[in-house]
Symmetry: C2
Subunit: 340 residues, 2 copies
């Protein structure tokens, strides 16, 4: 096992050895009594959760707070919130005194099934998602399903996109199961665990993403670009929405390049459309898009790369794509009847 | 082996796969022709080597440059300089795209026998040495003894302090050998390698400093404090000078606490005095000193810690010390006939 995991209902047994906790301000407002009695000795730091705040200035603020509290190298800290909070606080833990232990407490669906697992931490820099970061496994992940009750529908839908990504990579059975679900209802504990366990198993096989773990990037080469571009507009999409649009545009290339059958692709598009994921692409120039894509961490040997599928449950790994193919996928998406 | 090491004389075989190199500006001026022909494809970034520049602003500058050069996750970069350069550039490599490969090219004696080995990277923050950092092993360490020819005497003396520390930890034979040397002459290749290999072996046994590696901190609990305090004055001491003063004050406590015989301590002090290491302590208030010491990475379970010796070549590991003992060591140092 990569990390200790606890799946639990509230109320919680108090934990006395956590002296410092960084928490999403909204979550703290909603769950203050529960959290205060769970971590009775913690000094609380509230953060604003957003892609914009997943920044060097937030990281610097966290470092300063850790310093001021004189947190020692053996003192665990806690991060409580969605993916942006866990990534930023986890990166602070990874780099403070060359790494202190941390507990991850995911409060969004996305973080419970994805971001809290596998030890990737980081911040955005120069408009590039997760350009700076480190691998630093949490000592413990606490999943409290109750938090999902106060999560807005759109955030549930965002997390559901990573669940459907896991199902596409996992097996036809998982894909069939997920098709029976709605992206905005709270999944059962079993469904949550199944989605998280898929990621946990992949990360166990390849913790530092030398090989198999890169499969989890399905939809994320183009999806990260859609996400960052939309954040320059007045209508930012969520991470999950961007990933779903990334899955659509990337799987189009899986078909074009002869990996995936067109019929299977249509079936996937139909589901994405039904769930309301196929939003218009944000406005961009090809120059802007190229600049973002060339900073992708999956670029190596001077090639852009995406995850391709042979079939549902049969990923083909990272394949190189050309800039010409990216443009073709954009043109297809913009004129496809499935896409808004 | 933790890392690939090459010990070589100039001229060097060109290396074509390094596209980006950060170098101490002084070294680049002195060795430009050699370096340009060694890394013919490198984009050069020059840095100013100092404790003050081992900072977040330098790190941010390096991240920006890596971004602008679109360095991919599989592209190795090079760091060429002394400990401050290797630490800062190594930390940039550790955190850019969650870790890219890097080559360490130590150009000072201190870096050749110590800082380049073992994968510790980091920067100073809030007046605390190496408060932020990561473990990130270089893919390759290149030791070119020739660089020592252009190194100022005081910098050679700084590196020699880490050599004598390694000898004290290693064996009476090593200590006898080092006593025959002068701190400002260029050591033979065999002496250099012996000093480096001691550290390499310790780090191999314990790469993330869970246990044995902490021995290498002999002189560094108090030494870091002397170093940081002196940097607030017009007469900063070098890292090596501060470590030697740290060894003196810490070994005093080894004697006080019954680990080390007084006669052995006298013999060590005599050598440190003869080599000119026992400089006056910088001015400070006990409040300032306490604040620095409590940020030390060896603080755990709320205890300050130093490395103690039973005898030369027989380290006793990390032992807890009280604040009262720190004050006693300061008073002893200030009134000792050995100390300036």
């Amino acid at each position: 096992m990569l990390t200790n995991a606890t799946w639990q209902k509230i109320p919680l047994q108090p934990i006395y050895d956590i002296a410092w906790a960084a928490v999403d301000g909204k979550v703290y407002t909603l769950w203050k009594d529960v959290l205060d009695s769970w971590l009775p000795r913690a000094k609380w730091i509230t953060l604003h959760a957003s892609e914009e705040k997943k920044s060097l200035s937030t990281l610097r603020y966290l470092w300063k707070k850790l310093y001021q509290q004189q947190i020692a190298r053996d003192q665990p800290i806690a991060a409580i919130g969605g993916g942006t909070i866990l990534d930023t606080v986890g990166f602070a833990a990874a780099t403070y005194k060359r790494g202190i232990p941390w507990h991850a407490v995911p409060t969004t669906l996305l973080a419970q099934v994805d971001a809290a697992w596998g030890g990737k931490t980081g911040i955005n820099f120069r408009q590039t998602k997760n350009l700076l970061g480190a691998f630093h496994m949490p000592e413990q992940v606490w999943v409290f399903q109750d938090f999902l009750q106060t999560l807005p529908d759109r955030q549930r839908k965002s997390g559901f996109a990573e669940m459907l990504k896991h199902a596409l990579l996992d097996s036809p059975q998982s894909w069939d199961q997920i098709q029976a679900l709605s992206p905005t209802t709270i999944p059962s504990l079993a469904t949550l665990q199944q989605a998280a366990l898929f990621k946990i198993h992949v990360c166990e096989q390849d913790p530092h993403e030398k090989d198999r773990r890169s499969l989890l990037n399905l939809g994320h080469t183009l999806g990260h670009a859609w996400e960052m571009l939309s954040h320059k507009t007045s209508m930012p999409v969520t991470h999950g929405e961007a990933v779903a649009m990334g899955i659509a545009t990337e799987l189009y290339l899986s078909v074009e390049k002869g990996y995936l059958r067109a019929g299977t692709f249509e079936q996937i598009l139909q589901a994405l459309h039904r769930w309301g994921y196929l939003l218009p692409l944000p406005p961009f120039t090809y120059k802007q898009l190229a600049k973002l894509l060339w900073q992708d961490k999956k670029v190596f040997a001077h090639q852009l790369r995406i995850v391709a599928l042979y079939d549902i449950g049969q990923p083909a790994g990272l394949i190189p794509i050309t800039w010409h193919e990216v443009q073709k996928a954009v043109r297809w998406y913009r004129t496809s009847p499935w896409c808004a």
